[in-house]
Amino acid sequence: MKALPVLVRLLRDPPLAAGLGLPEWDLALRQSTCTNLSPSLLALLEEHDLLERVPAAPRAHLEWVRALATRHRQAARFEVECIQAALGAQAAPLLLLKGAAYTMAGLRAGAGRLYNDIDILVPKARLDAVEAALMLHGWASSGHDAYDQRYYRQWMHELPPMQHLRRRTSIDVHHAILPETAPLHPDPDKLRAAAVPVDGAPGLATLAPADMVLHSAVHLFFDGEFDKGLRDLLDLHRLFQEFGVRPGFWDALPARARELELGRPLFYALRYSRRLLGTPVPQAVLEAMAPCGPRRPLLALMDALFERALLPMHASCDDALSAPARFALYVRGNWLRMPPLLLARHLFHKAFISRKDAPETV
């Protein structure tokens, strides 16, 4: 493996911050900006009491994002309250996923993490009632044509994303963590049955620690888009760190992964979180998960792909193979999402029939 980009080295080993020179800070902040990780970096530096050791110019630049992170946390809490009020008994407790779960549960993975939508998990049988309740309170599915509506409702694991008409905030209502058309079917009933209440927030719940890690892993390693790959890998790293010291976490994780058919994504999560971010993982867990990995030649290929795609999306981190690696993973992500014939039809529709968004003018 080549030398890691300076941002990855910082996330891996925050005390390095005390010794970086201005040119390295310049590069680190460029890499963190394009990956949306500056607020996370700020939180990490503060957690290690290192902000004072950062030279004045990059420190001032890092301070720019403090307001965004504060505002984001506040807005997320408010939005969760609104969703709770809208759904009431339709989704009690309200089971939060990903970013909103990290924020509301006060996990370190949530510190400085920016996300655009709130994700919730509801029983499939309740989808219609939940959608109706959200619509009554001002959310509407927006910007999706008839094809998109069908794509989500028939094949995916979530409703078409809904947006609040006044606040312009988004919510993703999931009934499972993988598409209906995917080859794996982690049972959502099992996930909901193990959900844990959020301390100090009545009516809210998150997935249990092991399930939260597994969801984060499947979300990253079964998807085709890696523009936020490093952010998601950092989530995994921080979840492993925080849950890893809780008794029983590591002992139960491999078995739970197998039970939910998520051995392969967990294998990748452990492998790349360790290789890129230096996550400490007990040897017994690595040995237990080794059979879930791909065979050696395929593993070498996956290393070459993921260890490119998971780096910051910045010119300084790319080599000649970065773009092909991202494209290959994009194809793989779609491949894992639906069977070949359906996929061919979907890609054809997206390429030739759906319109593309244009950038704004000055």
Partner: protein, 314 residues
């Protein structure tokens, strides 16, 4: 009042580079230039950019190539057929391309707009208001206004009649102490104001006018050297004046209520919502200490007399 009274180092300015050296830096590693609290690394192989920078940025500090930069911006020709047929320019912030390309002749105004965009979408340490800011005797006037109100014309005239330029586009209010942080850069003039200012300030240095932009014909006025030299001096906001040019109108300065002033300034803020409670307290504090006015004018001499008559609020 002085902030961070740094030892006066005889630092280099952009003017220390001749045109060839300037163009070489722009086309190569990039030109690192400091404007107020921001350092930008500008890269461009386009002649219009070098020309505009040489003309308008001579007084600004030039930083070493290995310095830290807040913004890494590029203005590069579009590839493909556009290299030969109606060449275009793309603005990018470190690889991010937020705008559609423009004709290559618009490259310098695009740099100015792009830098404003960088600041207004990123620099959330300050409450940022879309406004011109000028200062005299330690008291600053904030001039928020939509395009077409004659804000920049008035600003350009004021800074050549005894007022110091803090900014033509961006009022940066520091939440800690409510002071205005200067980011003195060229003043953007549009359409008829270009000739108005040429006539009113014969010694003014203007960039070559570019016609047929989305804002009509645009030229940039060089910031007064004194304003650039005093860019570390913050100023206390004293007045909030909403200017409105109206042909033939008598000069009138109409006091506004605090509530009106508050909501109109908030409506012109770039990051009021992003700043959350800090944005509210910063703005409320500013409104408390300022007098707010609606200002109509048609004659620049009368307008300047109107500003000279402003009394600092108690």
């Amino acid at each position: 009042m002085l902030t961070a009274a740094s030892p006066t180092v005889a630092s280099l300015t952009v003017a220390s580079l001749n045109r060839t050296a300037l163009a070489t830096r722009l086309a190569g590693p990039g030109l690192l230039v400091q404007t107020g609290p921001f350092v930008s690394r500008i890269r461009s192989s386009i002649g219009h950019v070098a020309e505009g920078i040489e003309l308008l940025y001579g007084d600004y500090p030039l930083l070493a190539e290995d310095s830290f930069a807040d913004f890494h911006v590029g203005l590069q020709p579009s590839g493909g057929l556009r290299r030969w047929y109606k060449p275009q320019v793309n603005f990018d912030l470190d690889g991010l391309v937020p705008f559609e390309p423009l004709p290559e002749a618009h490259a310098f105004p695009m740099l100015e707009w792009g830098l404003n965009w960088c600041i207004s979408t990123r620099a959330h340490s300050w409450l940022m208001i879309h406004a011109a800011v000028v200062e005299r005797d330690g008291c600053a006037a904030i001039l928020p206004a939509p395009p077409g109100s004659g804000k920049s014309t008035l600003c350009a005239a004021l800074v050549h009649r005894g007022w110091r330029l803090l900014s033509d586009e961006l009022a940066l209010l520091r939440p800690d102490d409510g002071l205005l942080v200067p980011v003195a850069r060229p003043v953007s003039l549009k359409n008829r104001s270009i000739d108005v200012i040429r006539a009113y300030v014969p010694e003014a240095v203007l960039s070559r006018p570019v016609s047929n932009t989305t804002k009509g014909t645009v030229a940039h006025l060089k910031a007064p050297a004194d304003s650039v030299a005093r860019v570390r001096e913050t100023a206390r906001p004293a007045w909030i004046v909403f200017p409105k040019y109206e042909a033939g109108a008598a000069t009138t300065m109409t006091p506004l209520t605090r509530t009106d002033t508050f909501f109109r300034v908030a409506g012109n803020a770039f990051n009021y919502s992003e700043m959350g409670a800090r944005g509210f307290t910063t703005l409320a504090g500013t409104i408390e200490r300022c007098a707010g006015y609606d200002f109509r004018y048609s004659d620049l001499d009368e307008a300047i007399a109107g500003f000279a008559a402003l009394e600092p609020p108690p």
